[in-house]
């Protein structure tokens, strides 16, 4: 795209050594109905995985299960079974950073404070502000560091959320439709930026937008049915972020759209 900013040096820190994520017999039941049943899967480390599916299929549920957010849900009767661990057998605890559809910026904190909010929440003093500054620079928000989130546009706010996710400096990034609330152009910009900044990390992204999946993912899985099953991985050619006007991208988009449309609701 012509109006993309030139890539800045963004090697803020090397992502910590990463391991594959293994789901072993993962089941999620909501009110006794299995949404996900005995799912086994291995997400290879250092790559970008997209879970694609229509609304309500259980994409977000799967992501929340991996995040460990289902275990302490108060509302609804949700039951999780099976194990989610790294290939070394250790828990994912402390290795995951999360980015949601809403930016989830705290409106009373400045942009800079929002980026380093994780340090505050863990009650440890932020290790220098340099890294936050670098991240704000990389996301093009250096000048807005002292603004409140309400003063920013939707695209900028989501970039702050991206900087906050990166500040956590975790090997695994889980994203739940992170750009779906943005307008088309901001979305493309945000995808380019995320693709550039998240190189080397293990990313699992949930999306309902086939184009987004094709632009960013190393592997795309279609999640369908009830209980939901993961389809065979589709691995688009070329390196991310793939151009929107590339014929392969467009052809694949068409295929994925029709495949999603065939799935019985």
């Amino acid at each position: 795209m012509a109006n993309v900013k030139p890539p800045e040096p963004v090697r803020v820190s090397d992502p910590p050594s990463s391991k594959d994520i293994c789901l072993d017999g993962l089941s999620v039941m909501v009110d006794g109905v299995p949404l996900i049943h005995k799912l086994n899967h291995r997400f290879t480390s250092g790559q970008w995985h997209c879970l694609l599916g229509i609304s309500g299929v259980g994409k977000s549920m799967l992501l929340r299960a991996i995040l460990g957010l289902l275990s302490d849900t108060v509302t609804g009767d949700i039951h999780v079974e099976g194990s989610i661990a790294t290939s070394a057998g250790s828990s994912l605890q402390g290795r995951v950073a999360y980015m949601a559809q809403q930016d989830l910026l705290l409106p009373w904190l400045s942009v800079h404070e929002n980026v380093v909010v994780g340090g505050k929440l863990r009650n440890c003093s932020p290790p220098g502000t340099d890294r936050a500054d670098q991240l704000l620079q990389a996301t093009g928000l250096r000048e807005r560091a002292d603004d409140l989130p309400a003063q920013l546009s939707g695209g900028m706010r989501q970039r702050v959320a991206l900087a906050r996710t990166l500040w956590e400096d975790k090997p695994i990034i889980l994203m739940d439709e992170p750009f779906s609330a943005l307008d088309a152009i901001s979305r493309l910009h945000a995808q380019d930026l995320a693709s550039r900044l998240l190189v080397g990390r293990t990313v699992i992204m949930v999306t309902h937008d086939p184009l987004e999946a094709i632009r960013l993912a190393d592997h795309i899985y279609i999640l369908s049915g009830r209980p939901a099953v993961l389809g065979n991985p589709i691995s688009p050619a070329g390196t991310a972020p793939r151009a929107v006007d590339n014929t392969d991208v467009l052809t694949l988009q068409g295929q994925l759209l029709s495949q999603l449309g065939e799935v019985p609701h």
Binding site: G68, Y98, L106, P107, W108, L121, R122
Partner: protein, 255 residues
């Protein structure tokens, strides 16, 4: 800001004018409706007396509001973090609102005496419920996404409370506190009417019994000014503290 000040002056002047016009039009004797002139004169002549009683009432209002707000905020916090307390205490609180607080005033005087404590408790009681209800509401409405995000960042419950739920509930708490400071004077004055030896409420009853209607009006005027200045001082502080909350200015303008 200066526009608001000018408007206040015009409104106050207008009200005094209406008052004077009513006095002229009805030709009411001074012991029924004294005009602004005589009231201002008595206010200046007996300033010492009125200031003494005003000080007592102001103290009752401030201490009562502080007590009611503190206990209210603590109750709301307890209810949010301890569900059984919420399940059992909230219905009791709602039911307790059916009791007219004014009816409790004689009891409070009986239990706590003629001094300040009964008035402070009266003021605190009257504001306790609005503060608790609004703060509880604010705490319950924390954006669940913020809490999820904080959990993935490894935050403890205490840290989530301190850095997310409390600040997020502040706008709601601020509404409760505004209501509190506006109604706290009612509690203090009703308490004084029922039984006391000082305070503006006492002064008004005392003056009324002696047909010193001008003193009564002077006391009423001071009470009004006191309530207004407390409200606006607090509102100023709250708005400063909650600058990030864009709606607050909007609400202010519709007043």
């Amino acid at each position: 800001m200066t526009g608001g000040l000018a408007r206040s002056v015009v409104i106050a002047g207008g009200l005094v004018l209406v008052w004077q016009v009513i006095v002229w039009a009805t030709d009411a004797p001074a012991y029924i409706l004294p005009g602004p002139g005589p009231v201002a004169r008595v206010l200046l002549e007996r300033l010492d007396l009125i200031a003494h009683h005003a000080w007592v009432t102001a103290l009752e209002i401030i201490l009562g509001a502080a007590l009611g707000i503190t206990v209210g905020l603590c109750s709301a916090l307890t209810m949010v973090y301890c569900r059984p307390v919420q399940l059992w205490l909230l219905p009791v609180l709602v039911a307790s609102q059916a009791i007219p607080v004014f009816a409790l005033a004689p009891l409070l005087t009986l239990w706590l005496g003629y001094g300040m404590p009964s008035k402070i408790v009266m003021a605190a009681l009257i504001i306790y419920f609005p503060v608790t209800a609004t703060f509880l509401d604010g705490l319950r409405r924390t954006e669940p996404g913020w809490v999820d995000l904080a959990r993935t960042m490894g935050a403890t419950n205490l840290s989530i409370l301190r850095h997310i739920r409390l600040p997020a509930a502040m706008p709601a708490a601020a509404s409760g506190i505004r209501v509190a400071i506006a109604v706290a004077p009612i509690g203090a004055v009703v308490g004084e009417w029922v039984g006391s030896s000082q305070g503006l409420g006492y002064l008004m009853l005392h003056a009324n019994a002696r047909m010193q209607i001008d003193v009564m009006f002077a006391a009423l005027l001071i009470l009004t000014l006191m309530g207004l200045s407390m409200y606006f001082a607090l509102d100023f502080i709250l708005r400063r503290a909650l600058l990030w909350q864009p709606d607050i200015n909007a609400i202010e303008h519709t007043k």
